[in-house]
């Protein structure tokens, strides 16, 4: 029987990235994927003839451009196209439009609040400063603060130096920012409810926290620290849908000799003498390898794919306690035409951007309260994008599709599990809200796909449908991710690694987790490092 150098569980973008760097180093690598298609949560699916949904993640900003360039993803078919602006619809009145042009944007903000238009400059400068520091850590392995190894001490000192470089006051402000709520953070800059709501939106996406919860300010940063061509906070579309990213990485992986097997769900990781030696597939096939890398989330890896008795004491409990809460839903809608929004100029650049539907922090927080009660909100926060307005490859000409990301949607409803009726009602709540801002929207609907955390878990494999593979709170960030002592991609079982978003730097289509894990694996195997150092636009 063939023995691989490495088997990677899960053909999501991080698994494929990990595979690509291992294969590049000359390893014989197999990626096994439970679905018939690859991509995990960075996937394009044609569920209605002619319409291609990015039915999980839908926009790109965090993908490390270093990796894009290093793996030559453009050659493998990836084109990332930035989009220009975003609109935020308040509860009534004039929507807030983020224009790409500085002077135009300033004028528009000034119509909402002269104070906030001015404050926005400081806000952007501060956020850029925060983002620049975090960005430097994305492609580095977190130090273990409890270790005395020279490497860890060196890395800790490096980290300290970065923080010290902020100067005393900014250091305090940074700590505040890191631990505070999106509300408190934004109150420092803005007075206008709609502007605050618009700026807070990234602070709740994917998380089981509300805008009033301490810690939500960091989530906000997590979503804006990416960039497209050096524009921090800008977002883009992957031409052909988010699957184009996974496909390009897969193509690079195969180019290095890697092998992908689909319809190959893993039943269990094989452990012998305390060492991972391979996997058993759901169909009973046994595959052997020198190392096993899990791209699944930490909870699934240890509680579903491993035998508890193979684990050192305490690990099962850590995995069980790993916070990975489903809080988001998604509705993908195929449309016969471009929706028109009231109070919005009939301007194609605006339609090519994103839309946010929520007018105040209170509305956002109340939506979170519903989630706590095990309900989906009847007045949800929705972030939508119409990729087809800018990407000609994802819908027939003149036709469109809209990605609706919904916060919050509980993995379990208070009155029991999800059923078809409740799922429909959830989808309807989203459509109804959009209809309020776009009369006639319903008549444009050709097809829709409603995804509650249950569908996301079942199809993608993310526990509870958590899009980050684990909450991004301080207790699960950096050297705490996924658990203290195991943040360097090595798992408690010998020859076993993790490379998914449950590891540093966390969720988002960044490919950094996969690349970081590859660097660590190659180090253990005493192979030359194939993973590039991150290059920065701003040093």
């Amino acid at each position: 029987m063939k023995k691989y150098d490495a088997i990677i569980i899960g053909a999501g973008h991080n698994g494929l990235t990990n595979g690509a760097y291992l294969a590049k180093a000359g390893l014989n690598v197999l990626v096994v994927e439970k679905n018939a298609y690859i991509g995990g949560a960075a996937v394009s699916r044609e569920l209605e003839n002619g319409w291609i949904y990015s039915n999980c993640s839908y926009v790109s900003s965090m993908l490390r451009q270093t990796i894009h360039r290093d793996l030559n993803l453009t050659k493998h078919g990836l084109v990332l196209v930035p989009y220009l602006g975003t609109v935020n619809f308040g509860d009534n009145g004039k929507p807030l439009i983020h224009y790409h042009d500085g002077n135009v944007g300033y004028n528009h903000l000034r119509q909402h609040s002269a104070h906030d238009a001015d404050s926005m400059f400081k806000f952007q400068a501060d956020l850029t400063r925060y983002a620049q520091l975090i960005r430097k850590t994305l492609m580095r392995t977190p130090p273990n603060p409890t270790s005395f190894k020279p490497r860890d001490i060196k890395e800790l000192l490096w980290l300290a130096k970065q923080f010290w470089g902020l100067g005393e006051k900014e250091l305090y402000e940074y700590m505040r920012f890191f631990t505070t709520s999106a509300e408190e953070f934004l109150d420092d800059y803005f007075e206008n409810d709609l502007i605050k709501a618009a700026m807070a939106s990234p602070g709740i996406i994917g998380t089981a926290l509300g805008v009033y919860s301490p810690g939500s300010a960091y989530i906000l940063l997590h979503h804006v620290m990416g960039d497209v061509d050096g524009n921090i906070g800008a977002w883009g579309l992957a031409r052909g849908g988010m699957g184009a990213i996974s496909n390009a990485i897969a193509s690079a992986f195969k180019g290095f000799g890697g092998e992908i097997r689909t319809n190959a769900g893993v039943q269990q990781v094989l452990v012998e003498n305390g060492k991972a030696v391979g996997v058993v597939l759901e169909n009973g096939d046994e595959l052997r390898a020198n190392i096993v890398v899990s791209n699944l989330d930490a909870k699934r890896t240890f509680t579903k794919c491993m035998d508890k008795k193979d684990l050192p004491p305490g690990i099962y409990e850590k995995a069980k306690n790993f916070k990975i809460r489903g809080s988001s839903g998604k509705v993908n809608i195929a449309l016969s035409g471009l929706p028109k929004f009231t109070n919005l100029p009939d301007n194609k650049f605006i339609n090519q951007g994103g839309q946010g539907f929520v007018g105040s922090l209170e509305t956002m927080e109340r939506a979170y309260d519903c989630w706590k009660h095990g309900l989906f909100s009847d007045d949800p926060f929705i972030e939508t994008v119409i990729p087809s307005a800018w990407d000609p490859t994802v819908a027939p000409p003149g036709k469109h599709w809209m990605s609706c990301f919904v916060q919050y949607c509980p993995p379990v409803l208070a009155n029991g599990g999800w059923n078809a009726k409740q799922k429909e009602a959830f989808g309807q709540s989203v459509i109804d809200k959009i209809e309020r801002y776009s009369p006639g929207f319903k008549d444009l609907i050709v097809h829709k796909e409603i995804r509650t955390p249950v569908e996301i878990e079942n199809e993608v494999g993310l526990t509870e449908g958590n899009i980050f593979q684990g909450e991004l709170t301080i207790d699960q960030l950096l050297f705490n991710r996924p658990f203290p002592g195991y943040a360097q991609y090595r798992m408690p079982i010998k020859n076993m690694y993790m490379c998914g978003a449950s590891t540093h730097p966390g969720g988002g289509v960044s490919a950094a987790c996969g690349a970081n894990a590859a660097r660590e694996i190659l180090m253990d195997l005493r192979k030359p490092n194939t993973v590039p150092e991150d290059s920065f636009y701003d040093e």
Partner: protein
């Protein structure tokens, strides 16, 4: 059917919200903009130049010219605590500023880093007008926290303002019938009934940003076009012409005036530690009055003064005629030890010199300063190392600019 692809789609309506604002003088000034050379300032459509930048520059130096300062930010600070609030905000002592006087000043962060510079006008006992190049309302509102009776109002869009500069400017204003204008001293304010109507007030301050004789005219927007017409009628025989940003920039470098984003980074918009400046670094120590017991940044500034600023802004006369844009400065021709950088540079047509403003590490100011200049000759890059001389006085400071009444042009 979506309307976006429709050929009848009303593009003007679709992009209406995206049009830059136009100033109160736009209906007139735009007629002069033969070259359609527009840029933007604070969201306003703004002329880079109108006909020819060099011509406009010489209007300022040779005859007279107008500069549309509507986009400049203007704030009223009013109330019983206005003076106390302002005096803590800015580094100069304005408690002695009399009514109808103007002064140039700057304001700093708690750490003594410059946020912006501008002018303050005392309009009455409890009313001041503060002007600045960039928006500052958020900071001013912060600065008003804790006072019982002070209000900060953004009146940027509600006042029409026109700078009127050049040797013949006073003559033109006299011709407009503004009696006594020749007696207006620098940094003083006078009020006139506009077109003889006492309900329409024209306020004139003897201020400007060109280093030459000049005034700034302030009026209600409803009277803006009339003011333009009156002024241009009176100035017809004196070669009146509008000037744009390029000409202004030339004039202000000769006068040694600083610009945000060029000589200094506005502190509140600065991302990197200490990439902003203190007034001492900008050679504006004279704006910092330590006799005042307290003002924002005092402790930090006192330390900066005592320790000596790391950099100091200097005026340089550079050998040769090649513009030293973005050049590094060195302490010897060998270009080993990097001691500073050029912030603004130009060939001065009136002085006939290659001049520049530069930030130089304070301890090297007295020594040799060499600039490494890159330029291009028909596409081929060229490099040159030339010596620079520190100049202490402004490159251009005619006596008429300060004399009252102004000297004969």
């Amino acid at each position: 059917m979506n309307t976006l692809m429709n050929s009848n789609h009303d593009l003007a309506a679709a992009y209406e919200d995206e049009q830059l604002q136009v100033t109160h003088f736009h209906a007139r000034s735009s007629k002069f903009n033969i070259r359609e050379a527009w840029t933007a300032w604070n969201g306003y459509k703004f002329a880079d130049y109108y006909y020819d930048a060099q011509y406009e520059y010489f209007c300022v130096r040779n005859s007279c010219a107008t500069y549309d300062i509507c986009p400049m930010q203007k704030y009223y600070i009013t109330g019983k605590d206005a003076m106390t609030m302002l005096n803590r905000l800015v580094t100069r002592d304005i408690s002695k500023l009399n009514i109808n006087r103007v002064t140039y000043l700057c304001w700093c962060t708690d750490d003594g880093r410059m946020i912006d510079d501008g002018t303050v006008f005392r309009l009455s006992e409890d009313k001041y007008m503060l002007t600045s190049g960039s928006p500052c309302i958020a900071w001013f509102k912060k600065a008003a926290v804790g006072y019982d009776d002070v209000e900060v109002t953004d009146v940027s869009d509600e006042i029409a303002a026109l700078a009127f500069q050049g040797p013949t400017s006073c003559e033109v204003l006299k011709k407009m019938g503004l009696e006594g204008i020749e007696n207006l001293k620098p940094f003083n304010i006078m009020h006139f009934p506009f077109k003889g109507d006492s309900d329409k007030k024209l306020t004139i301050s003897r201020t400007g940003f060109t280093g030459d004789l000049g005034y700034e005219l302030w009026i209600d927007p409803s009277q803006a076009l009339d003011l333009w017409d009156e002024l241009y009628l009176a100035g017809e025989d004196y070669n009146i012409h509008p000037y744009g940003e390029t000409a202004l920039n030339m004039a202000r470098i000769e006068a040694g005036f600083i610009l945000p984003g060029t000589e200094f980074n506005e502190a509140l918009k600065t991302v990197h530690l200490h990439h902003d400046q203190t007034p001492f670094e900008l050679n504006l120590g004279w704006l910092v009055d330590f006799k005042k017991p307290h003002f924002n940044g005092r402790t930090a500034l006192l330390k900066d003064k005592t320790d000596g600023p790391e950099y100091t802004l200097v005026k340089l006369d550079i050998d040769g005629n090649k513009a030293a844009d973005d050049s590094y400065l060195y302490d010897s021709k060998k270009c080993k030890n990097h001691i500073g950088y050029i912030t603004s540079t130009m060939w001065s047509p009136v002085v006939k010199a290659n001049i520049a403003l530069a930030m130089v590490k304070t301890k090297y100011i007295k020594g040799q300063i060499w600039a490494e200049i890159y330029y291009s000759k028909e596409i081929r890059p060229k490099q040159k190392i030339v010596e620079c001389t520190v100049v202490n006085k402004p490159f251009w400071a005619p006596a008429r600019a300060r004399a009252t009444p102004p000297l004969r042009y």
